[in-house]
């Protein structure tokens, strides 16, 4: 299993931050996922070995956190918030629009692997609702038209 140099540097650095190795697990999983796309059996095996954990222990942690996934997602993961502040300002309509436009449902991925879609809980953008995240980028004060533009921009990349 090969990760980037940046990953390795960060990983070694993080190990010095805590009295136990295991403490690096959650951030490390997310960084590994960012590189590989998902937490494949190989990634789980590798991280378990590095941290002296069993693969089962690692999988158990993975299943708890909503951002971690053992299944590949699209290149751009569109996460639409429908929690209360967003719901009041059209978050659900935005989600429905994305479903229609992308032709996929909650946790679905387009056949070409470009987009996946997720309905998510509050992402901390309530005062700028409705909001969505595409991968880690925030998009706020959205309308259906703005969302279309956002998606088209990503499609070009």
């Amino acid at each position: 299993m090969k990760f980037s140099d940046q990953f390795e540097a960060r990983f070694s650095d993080m190990l010095t931050h805590y009295p136990t190795k295991r403490s690096v697990l959650v951030p490390t999983l997310l960084y590994a996922q960012d590189e590989v796309g998902y937490l494949s059996p190989d990634v789980i095996h590798e991280i378990a070995q590095r941290l002296d954990l069993t693969e089962l222990e690692v999988s158990n942690v993975i299943s708890y956190y909503s951002m971690l996934t053992t299944k590949p997602r699209g290149k751009f993961n569109v996460q639409v918030c429908t929690n209360i502040a967003c719901m009041l300002r059209g978050g659900e309509e935005l989600l429905d629009h994305c479903k229609t436009k992308l032709g996929i449902g909650h946790k679905g991925t387009t056949p070409d692997g470009t987009f996946s879609l997720e309905e998510v809980e509050c992402i901390g953008a309530c005062s700028w609702a409705p909001a969505a995240q595409v991968n880690y980028d925030f998009h706020e004060n959205l309308t259906v038209e703005k969302m279309d533009k956002v998606l088209d921009e990503y499609r070009k990349n």
């Binding site: 805590y18 697990l25 951002m67 971690l68 929690n83 209360i84 719901m87 009041l88």
Partner: protein, 439 residues
Amino acid sequence: MADLVSHPDEVKVVSKRFGKSATNIDRYLELDGYKAVQKALGMQPDAIVNLVKDSGLRGRGGAGFNTGMKWSFVPKQSPKPKYILCNGDESEPGTCKDRLIFEHDPHSVIEGVVIAGIATGSHAGYIYIRGEYRYLLEIMQKAIKDAYARGFLGKNIFGSGYDFEVYWHGGAGAYEVGEESALMESLEGKRGIPRIRPPFPAVVGLWGGPTVINNAETLASVPHILLGGAEWFAKLGPPKNGGTRLFCLSGHLNRPGVYELPMGYNLKKMIYEVGGGISGGRKLKAVVPGGSSCPVLTADEIDVSMDFDSMMKAGTMLGSGGVVVVDETTCMVNFALRIMKFYQHESCGWCIPCREGTDWLKKTLTRFHHGGGVKKDIDNIQYLSENMLGRTFCPLGDAAAMPTISIVKKFRKEFEDHLEGKPCPFEKAGVTEPAAVLA
């Protein structure tokens, strides 16, 4: 990234460096940065604790516990290392304020952590930031690195002989991890399942050592108290409710945004003046005063002072500062359902009343909203919620129950209007999904 707003009634303390490029350490220093830590290094730890106690600073994470008091519970002598843990998991629906602090003034959080450390005799602190806030984690990583490079962190900080390490930590998506004991589990690399208390974290926390856990806004307030004094801070708000708060106004408002207002600011004024009133000139129906866990207030109940004690008297909570404004066109059954869907999704599943209760309530509310409700469901929703209260290992069970109980009590008529096959009166024709009797 997120837009900043302002209003003449604002009193900028925590937000005073917003929009002023204070992520740059030199700029931060020009704006009185790192002066408070140096002051703290010349003080007796007890004097710092007392100063913070007297300032009336109360936890901005939701529970509103007196911060100095919390620090005073940390034992002076401890065979195990003591820790400071900054809670930046910010996931309570309606809340988006810590985000602005991390984005605009990360060094103030670092400073708050170090001061808490000096006050409690700790030598290490962690700043936990939710996984979705990746860009903020990067801002924090840089801020920490810059502070180390200047000798503000690490061995012998500011040449004082005192050592203090600060580390960043990123989450990976989980509301429950914001609960203090689950936060420690997560930092230790585990699932975010809470711990049974007692022992409290101040005595047995991270890796068994005494641990102070504070919200990011709480910690960011501390340097200002050191520089401005306890009396000044206390007097910004009503008795026992010192300082200001970042209120996150959202929902059906003309000018939503995060505004820093004195503690005790009137809620009605907050909605109609600061927030610019209800969109489209519509009527107000309800307000969630401090994040989705709080009992809702009706339009008749908003002439209240936004401080911890007054909100308690009004039968609700000041909570996390998330003020969600709901107008007359909103279906409160649907609103209650959305809140319950959230808690059901986030329940860690450890205690039966929370795990089963949230699931049953979600199913009942779903069926009810889609017109499959019967009269006795209304009482059942209330009864089920009431029986979750106080019967769980962590407050998430209560957080799910409290808003639900308040909505059933205060908006019972809306539930009745949904009864027995009637379509939701608030949905446009054809919008409601077909009634699922046992969804």
